[in-house]
């Protein structure tokens, strides 16, 4: 795996240099080394000399498409995983950027490692991380532990069947084999086993930790409304405090607004400082949309978003 990462990283750098020197793009948005183990960080590269700061590893977890709105004035070279590319396609359907503004550097994704899960597997602070093949080595002051990489992947990555970007101007690395590690999102599976009452309780408990920092919203490339419904003062849909009803309201609508738009990247869940589970909501909506309308976000660049269209034969047995 390490070798793959290294090879991909080299290709990203090479491509970035080429794009910048030929002035095909003004800026490359990619990942750079984090200052902490288990973390990478979004970086913005504007000159060839800086391009060697670009990296690729198991912690490139952000969906960089979320930065596009800030860069509307520039030609952008964007490093995308499969899910990020799907967001870009979805955004493109919603006419969020100019046709020739983007250059996608597609990376067939090796699935990202869930840093929190890794942290919870050991006692004490992790100070160093290494990766060898399908093993992750974590070291702290008084421990060293080897973990099986596959056991520590993000849930949204475990179910992913679009690891290779559906659309990219260049692909760095070979297309990945598109089969899921698990068939159903583990959190959706667990949730669906519960009774309705248990489900509601679980949902309220998760949402109950919300501090309304809106990191889930800001991390999501599809959350770009000029005025989010939570911020509207007239009409005021919900209050801004921590009343369970208001918090539930926010989480239902934030998720539901992603119907047919969510790429399943999991950026929302990864962004949450309170570790609220969120992808069991969006992933379920994705499943529904696939089942009901045969639609998957950002896979077919020409398909209309399902909630902006219809089929005369759509299901309606629930309508009196």
């Amino acid at each position: 795996m390490e070798q793959t990462h290294k090879a991909i990283q080299d290709s990203i750098r090479e491509k970035a240099k080429e794009l910048l020197s030929s002035k095909k793009v003004d800026v490359i948005v990619g990942f750079g080394e984090g200052t902490l183990p288990l973390r990478a960080t979004p970086i913005f590269i504007r000159s060839q000399e800086e391009a060697d700061r670009l990296i690729w590893n198991s912690y490139c977890e952000n969906n960089l498409a979320t930065y596009l709105y800030k860069l509307s004035q520039f030609k952008v070279g964007l490093v995308v995983k499969g899910c990020d590319a799907r967001s870009v396609i979805a955004l493109s359907r919603e006419k969020r950027f100019k046709h020739d503004q983007l250059y996608l550097i597609g990376v067939p994704c090796q699935r990202m490692v869930d840093r929190r899960k890794v942290k919870k597997a050991v006692k004490g602070e992790i100070l160093r991380v290494g990766e060898q093949g399908d093993e992750i080595t974590v070291e702290g002051e008084d421990f060293k532990k080897v973990l099986k990489r596959d056991d520590f992947l993000y849930p949204s990555c475990q179910v992913c069947i679009h690891r290779t970007p559906a659309k990219a101007d260049v692909l760095v690395g070979n297309p990945a084999e598109e089969s899921p590690l698990v068939e159903v999102h583990p959190d959706v599976k667990d949730f669906e086993k519960m009774s309705p009452e248990e489900r509601w309780r679980y949902f309220e408990k998760e949402a109950g930790r919300c501090i309304r920092c809106y990191a889930c919203r800001e991390a999501c490339p599809m959350c770009y409304c000029t005025e989010c419904f939570v911020d509207s003062s007239n009409p005021k849909w919900i209050d801004k405090g921590l009343s369970p009803s208001d918090v539930d309201f926010y989480h239902i609508v934030r998720a539901y607004h992603q119907s047919g738009r969510c790429s399943g990247c999991g950026a929302c869940e990864r962004a949450c400082p309170m570790e609220i589970k969120l992808t069991y909501l969006t992933q379920k909506l994705n499943q529904d949309v696939k089942e009901l309308f045969g639609f998957e976000t950002g896979v077919d660049p020409d398909a209309s978003p399902p909630l902006s269209t219809y089929d005369i034969e759509d299901r309606q047995e629930f309508i009196k």
Binding site: G34, T35, L36, R39, A40, T41, P42, I43, F44, N62, T66, Y67, K70, R116, K119, K120, G124, E125, L127, G208, R209, I211, R212, C213, Y214, A215, R217, E218, A219, D231, D239, K240, G241, L242, S243, A267, R270, A271, C272, P273, M274, E275
Partner: protein, 332 residues
Amino acid sequence: MPFLQSLMDEYDLFAPAQLAEGVSVYKKIDQTEEVDLSISNAQKPAKEIFFPQSETMFRYEKAGKESRITSTEEIKRNRILLGARPCDIQAFSLIDHVFAGKEYTDTYYVNKRKATTIIGMGCDHPLSTCFCSSLNGGPFQREGSDLFLIDLGESYLVELLTEKGMAFQKNKFFEEANEKEISLAKGVEGKAAEKIKAAIPVEGIEKRLDQMMESPYWDRVQEKCLGCRVCTYLCPTCHCFDIMDEARTNKGRRVRNWDSCLSSLYSQETSGHNPRPTNRERTRQRLMHKFNYFPKNFDRIACVGCGRCTLYCPAHFDIRQTIKEIQEGGDK
């Protein structure tokens, strides 16, 4: 936990507790089992105890043209904050400046503060992101605590530091510490101090920033910021809030909720004008407030080095790095 129970019999007890695996806050304790003193750096800082994220300021009821307002500022039962670490406690002394104030006293904050005895606790496992020592703090700093606990494994060494602390002198759960225990505590303290390796150069940062208001550096700083509120809400010194009414027909309440300078709405005026229209101005405001404006007003930097903003930023923004870059003159 008879000691905790005895505290709860007399006080409202606030302490760190886990909400989910790896996620903790300071909260009012209903059952002693909730208390988890091993949590050294809870996601949400202890400021919540005095400055809750969402707080009713008063309730009102309207009848015809008349209305009646009922205040919620009074604290009916004394409180104990148990197990807060020195960084969070140091932060109180910073936001005290704001809420106690010279001209106006924020009764909600001050009432809670006065009614609370703080039992601080030595932080024996500082993280690599901690840099309290660079900001006049330290993992065993006592300032601000009324009592101070040091974890000796089987027992705690308790130091009674203030008048409020001395009230516990006769507590039946406390015994006189012996030499061995005292020296053991010193060992724990020394070990923790060694652990904080990060020396963050804050010296002179206020002056440096005086020159940087229009620096292109802020364009760089803002780049990866998503504009969420994690760093401000989880910061023990951030204290901005919004005031809103929550109405239901004839009744309702006025509420204050935490607010964040990183939100575009924060400074959005009704006219449509926004003095801080982009992330550039907003990230600048956050850092300026901590390292320039606050020191100008109160002679202290509004950062205690707890590292939360760095740990929890979804884009992995590292304030330690930013401070260094500022000190090096910005855009490097």
